[in-house]
């Protein structure tokens, strides 16, 4: 608990910002690729997915952080996945009850949050070693970083594939939508080019 005493606002801010850019889960750590590619055909499902991930990430980090002293090393991963799958079930039932159409669009990608590497990675790398406050802040930072990345990717793809953002027309009449952008190929190529762009940006900064 010595870490807890030393942890001031500066550490909190540092942890929060790490998830947003320096250790951004998608661009920097290449974690959680499946949902990143699968639900980013439009901004709305991407945003819903991001919110689900934030919810599950915060809850699982809280639980793991609270039981970190009870964990046996060889049963660790199993306990993480059990905790995560419980919260994912809650999120899935919530979506089914209140936004059934969105739940249908996302389909099996909501339950697939269970095997999203971001969540297990944060449970392992942060929550199982740190106190409650740091774990929550880390979860929020990582979750928001993930959501922002999804929205950027989805924004590019939705704009190019339909000429709309948030289902509102933004491009002029002469724009011909690129149908390929809403297909798997659009997801892979856009993410590849965005990663290249991030590499260029971070190189020019340093």
């Amino acid at each position: 608990m010595a870490d807890e005493a030393r942890a001031g606002p500066a550490v909190y801010k540092e942890t929060l910002l790490a998830g947003l850019w320096r250790e951004n889960p998608v661009f920097r750590l290449l974690l959680g690729m499946c949902p990143t590619l699968a639900v980013t055909a439009a901004v709305k499902p991407a945003l819903t997915m991001g919110c689900c991930v934030i919810f599950v990430l915060v809850c699982s980090n809280v639980v793991v952080s609270l039981m970190r002293n009870l964990l046996k090393p060889h049963l660790r991963i199993l306990m993480f996945t059990l905790a995560i799958s419980t919260f994912v079930t809650i999120a899935d039932l919530f979506l089914k009850a209140f936004v059934p159409r969105m739940s249908e669009t996302l389909g099996p990608y909501v339950p697939l949050i269970i095997v999203n590497c971001i969540i297990i990675c944060r449970a392992e790398a942060c929550a199982s070693k740190n106190g409650l406050a740091i774990s929550i802040i880390d979860a929020v930072g990582m979750g928001v970083g993930f959501t922002l990345t999804l929205c950027v990717l989805a924004g590019v793809r939705e704009l190019l594939s339909t000429g709309k953002i948030f289902e509102a027309q933004v491009t002029p009449d002469w724009f011909v939508p690129w149908a390929a952008m809403s297909m798997p190929v659009g997801a892979f190529v856009t993410l590849g080019l965005l990663l290249g762009l991030v590499n260029v940006l971070s190189k020019s900064r340093s």
Binding site: L37, A38, I77, L78, S85, C117, V185
Partner: protein, 196 residues
């Protein structure tokens, strides 16, 4: 004869047309992580094929014989992940006992099959497609594994050649792999509409 044809079509459909990697974005992490060398990729593909066949069959049985009659669908995800973790543990023990050298070369990737989205994803898709016969579920699970093996081996072959190519500095590594994967999916889109 009809059942045999239907099963054959289901198999071809999941290997080529609904390939988990190319159309459903499942199993991307090992697809990008282990596809550096073709022998590793093939071994990984075989391990995944075994686990996915086993867990696809088991989860279908559990879902249809235990969860649905007892109206316990709420616990479906928890049960599925337990079955998969168990199956992976089984494979790990088996490989460690009988193929120690293979076990060493896999390293961390073997336990990580648990968190391979292709496996849980396939179990969920089998549930979603409302497949009502055991043999159909087995064939589709096996086909999904073969499809994954094929995808990861094609990718490994391309990446071995990519090492010699002159790629712009900012695209080296993951970005160019993703773009290559994108072009591959474009090629596989040619199979779309072949069946249904």
């Amino acid at each position: 004869m009809d059942t045999v044809t239907a099963l054959l079509l289901a198999f071809i459909s999941i290997v080529l047309i609904n390939n988990l990697v190319f159309t459903k974005f499942l199993g991307i992490c090992p697809y990008l992580g282990v596809s550096g060398r073709i022998d590793m990729a093939f071994g990984m593909g075989l391990a995944v094929t075994f686990v996915v066949t086993l867990s696809g069959t088991l989860t279908w049985l559990i879902d249809n014989l235990i969860l649905m009659p007892m109206h316990l669908e709420v616990t479906r995800y928890v049960c599925f992940i337990l079955v998969i973790a168990g199956a992976v543990q089984l494979v790990e023990m088996y490989v460690r006992k009988f193929f120690p050298s293979l076990y060493k070369s896999f390293g961390i990737f073997l336990p990580l099959i648990t968190t391979n989205c292709a496996i849980l994803g396939l179990c969920l898709f089998i549930n979603l497609w409302e497949i009502d016969s055991l043999i159909d579920a087995v064939v589709r699970s096996f086909g999904a594994g073969i499809g994954f093996t094929m995808a990861i081996c094609i990718m490994a072959g391309i990446r071995e050649n990519l090492n010699l190519a002159d790629v712009p500095a900012c695209l080296k590594g993951a970005p160019i792999t993703l773009i290559t994967a994108g072009l591959l999916t474009l090629a596989f889109m040619g199979f779309a509409g072949m069946i249904r």
